[in-house]
């Protein structure tokens, strides 16, 4: 087989894998979300179709496909119809870049992170178009909120990744040899494959970037919640205020595209977090040398890739379940608190992180020490972030102690014994009986 045929096969396999994975992941996630939420909320969740309701994952999209296509007469026809497509297509496209395993990735794309970031910001346009095109006040407010939110959180999301890119300048495998490859070494790489490879260095296979950039992961994950409009940042579709936000006028297949797009977005955010911070496909058994030695070239590669995919999907699922867990637990923020959190807190923090990490990586000591210092600084920043969190988000919470310090103060209070003599308030509205 010549190279062209191999490349075509590679592309077809990767593309089909990504597409099928996306389609099934979204509907499986819907089922998982319902089941996990049901578990948290002390109820059963779906039970009717299949054992434990597992066919709900099939029935749900089917129902949406078969629904009538309702469109209000006063909507902006073109905008209203295009919006779901614009929302959904970047989701599919972004999947191409995800590194499931060494083979199942569009390895040629050296600008993976930029590509991902660019595509993930196209969603905003779809959401805004949906809000505007619906000709509905709730949808309009939802769309505007969503635009503001997604643009704001895009910034810290991107900046939080930069720390990782910086680390690859020290830890990329190309830097290891006596003659470092200067296109990567000292500059850093924005290719997903390179970043995963940097975390799989045979000399230190467990040195995932979450250990060196924990703050990066936390900030990235928070921004990911906001980017995908999940609780506690689900304001655009806050059902208690805005009915369903920009989704209010949508139904049937169009709604399904937003819905599946949202879950697809979640999957992508988790997958990127896995690749950047959690070591990608590295894990027990993901050693190419061992398998090719034991099974020969072809089958060794096959088994190795399957194990890689397993680890990648496993880590991704952990993050996705965390998404669902958070949704089942937390209330949502108010719009202004949300913006305040992004602009006054996350962006300065991530910028500070870049500054510190970058500065420490320039120290004139050996590479190991430099990385160690930057990691230590990052952990300190993380602790700082968690302890000062309340004073930033809270309205009246300025100067409050972190929760672990004031636990005793917030125990349910024992009802005080008060005097129980009946006391009728004074006549009139003078407020005389209001001394307490």
């Amino acid at each position: 087989m010549n190279d062209v045929v191999q490349n075509i096969i590679h592309f077809v396999v990767t593309f089909l894998f990504a597409l099928i994975f996306l389609m099934s992941a979204a509907s499986i996630l819907v089922y998982l979300e319902r089941k996990i939420q049901a578990f948290v909320q002390d109820r059963y969740g779906p039970l009717h179709y299949g054992p434990q309701g597992i066919l709900q994952a099939v029935i749900d999209p089917m129902k949406l496909l078969l629904k009538e296509d309702v469109k209000a007469a006063s909507t902006d026809n073109v905008v209203f119809r295009i919006a779901p497509i614009i929302f959904f297509s970047p989701v599919i496209t972004a999947f191409v870049v995800l590194p499931f395993s060494p083979y199942l990735t569009a390895g040629a794309l050296g600008t993976g992170i930029i590509y991902y970031v660019a595509l993930s910001s196209i969603d905003v346009i779809g959401v805004f178009m949906a809000g505007w095109g619906s000709n509905n006040k709730y949808a309009l407010i939802g769309g505007l909120r969503s635009t503001a939110q997604m643009i704001s959180y895009e910034l810290p999301l991107v900046i939080s990744i930069v720390g990782v890119v910086m680390l690859t300048s020290e830890l990329a495998p190309a830097c290891a040899g006596a003659t470092p490859d200067l296109t990567v070494c000292g500059v850093g790489s924005i290719s997903f494959t390179q970043i995963v490879a940097a975390q799989m260095n045979p000399a230190r296979p467990w040195l995932w970037f979450v250990l060196l950039q924990p703050l990066g992961l936390v900030v990235y994950y928070i921004c990911g919640l906001a980017e995908t409009n999940r609780t506690p940042f689900d304001l655009p579709e806050a059902e208690s205020e805005l009915v369903a936000g920009y989704l209010t006028e949508y139904s049937g297949l169009r709604w399904a595209m937003f819905f599946l797009g949202e879950y697809g977005n979640m999957t992508i955010v988790s997958a990127v977090a896995t690749a950047l911070f959690l070591g990608g496909w590295s894990g027990p058994g993901a050693a190419v040398g061992f398998w090719t030695g034991a099974l020969g070239g072809f089958w060794g590669q096959v088994v190795f890739n399957i194990i890689c995919v397993f680890w990648f999907v496993f880590k991704m699922m952990v993050l996705l379940i965390l998404f669902i867990w958070i949704r089942a637990t937390l209330p949502r923020l108010r719009a202004d608190q949300l913006m305040k959190f992004a602009w006054l807190y996350l962006i300065p923090l991530t910028l500070l992180n870049i500054f510190i990490t970058g500065g420490l990586l320039l120290l004139p000591v050996n590479a190991g020490l430099r990385v160690f210092f930057s990691a230590a600084a990052n952990w300190i920043l993380l602790v700082l972030m968690i302890t000062t969190f309340r004073s930033i988000t809270g309205v009246s919470a300025v100067g409050k102690l972190p929760r672990w310090m004031s636990r005793s103060a917030r125990r349910p209070q024992i009802i005080e014994e008060k005097d129980t003599t009946p006391r009728v308030p004074e006549r009139g509205l003078s407020g005389a009986g209001v001394q307490r």
């Binding site: 909320q41 806050a238 208690s240 949502r332 719009a335 608190q337 349910p412 008060k418 407020g431 209001v434």
Partner: protein, 383 residues
């Protein structure tokens, strides 16, 4: 804070920077996920800031007071169940108590204790709904299901005692309809143990102390005590504003004359304080039920009353502390079998008045937080 939106809109009207902004009128309700029924709020918005709010009510008006006037006294109990549909037992207490006061009847002690037990159970059930839906309003999906899980058990108790889960039709003028079933009290005690030790602290850890929940509720919707009294607010809202007024304590009725109530008062006056008052009142209700079960006297469950009730001419006003405040019935009798006039003072209706005042100048997100903390029941507003 309150002057800020007006200033902003004044700036916009002059067209600074060529920008012209318009106020938007948003109809919230009557079909809306979180107006707790069919309340309609006409919000005038300037961006996300509420400039004006006009509640429109009456979508659930059933002419309840007129119905009372066209029914014999005893038949009204079935209808008053539906007034505040989250606390039927408390409504029945108000109605039965008013007629008894009008007739000069005193129910037997056992009946009064049973009334106290079911009243406090109903208060717990109602507060659970209030807190659960409040969490739901703020975007937390789990509290409502945990709250309803516990409420379900209380409804089961009501089913056992009255035959109905919801519109109980249990109280009668002069007493209650049925005595407690065998083993009922033990089951209630078991439930209370579990509820107090496990369910309530669980619900507590889910909401209280949650950074987002506190950020949404603390300092939001502040009512100062004078304002609260001027608006005739009652119930957890009044006590959340630091006024120690509880009908059970101020004008004790029934078994509350023998079992004193310790009121829960919070000084903060914001949404969080109201939420805390409701929460701690559930502990207090548990204590009251326990004490009533310990002291439960024997004897008859109903006084001897004539089949056709004909109170003598006169009028009366009888108030009970419902889960939402002072629920009262004003009755005028002309000596016939039918009330000449019946007026129901629904606490939700009175408490709703302060909403426009509280919403002015707040954000759209706060509308729900404040509305939820007032804990309206539209059946009680519209009657």
């Amino acid at each position: 804070m309150a002057t800020e939106p007006n200033l902003q809109s004044a700036l916009y009207e002059t067209g600074i920077g060529g920008l012209r902004s318009e106020e938007m009128i948003l109809n919230m309700g009557p079909q809306h996920p979180s107006t707790h029924g069919v309340l309609r709020l006409v919000l005038t918005l300037d961006g996300e800031t509420v400039v004006q709010c006009t509640p429109v009510i009456g979508y659930l008006h059933r002419g309840m007071e007129k119905i009372f006037e066209n029914r014999p006294y005893m038949a009204g109990i079935r209808y008053i169940d539906n007034a505040d549909y989250l606390s039927p037992m408390l409504n029945e207490m108000a109605y039965a108590g008013a007629v008894e006061q009008l007739m000069g009847l005193e129910p037997p002690r056992r009946a009064q204790y049973i009334r106290l037990i079911v009243n406090e159970l109903e208060r717990i059930a109602s507060h659970l709904v209030a807190i659960g839906t409040y969490g739901m309003d703020l975007g937390a999906t789990t509290p409502i299901l945990w709250a309803f899980r516990d409420r379900e058990q209380i409804l089961d108790f009501f089913e056992a005692v009255s035959g109905h889960r919801f519109t109980h039709n249990y109280m009668r003028v002069g007493g209650v309809l049925y005595d407690l079933p065998k083993g009922w009290l033990q089951q209630v005690e078991q439930f209370l143990d579990n509820f107090e030790r496990k369910s309530l602290p669980e619900l507590d850890t889910l909401l209280t102390g949650n950074e987002i929940f506190e950020a949404r509720t603390q300092g939001v919707g502040y009512i100062d005590p004078q304002q609260a009294i001027a608006y005739a607010l009652t119930g957890p809202i009044l006590r959340g504003s630091g006024v120690d007024f509880d009908v059970r304590k101020a004008r004790p009725y029934g078994a509350y004359r023998e079992i004193p109530v310790r009121t829960v008062v919070r000084q903060d006056g914001d949404c969080f304080a109201r939420y805390r008052v409701r929460f701690e009142e559930m502990y207090e209700s548990v204590r009251l039920i326990r004490e009533a079960i310990d002291k439960l006297p024997g004897g008859s469950i109903s006084a001897r009353v004539p089949i056709a009730l004909r109170p003598q001419r006169g009028e009366t006003y009888f108030a009970v502390e419902s889960a939402r405040g002072e629920e009262a019935l004003y009755l005028i009798s002309d000596g016939s079998e039918y009330p000449y006039r019946a007026k129901l003072r629904g606490p939700s209706f009175v408490n709703l008045q302060i909403l426009p005042e509280l919403l002015r100048g707040r954000r759209v997100g706060d509308v729900i937080a404040i509305l939820g903390s007032i804990d309206l029941v539209l059946g009680d507003v519209d009657r």
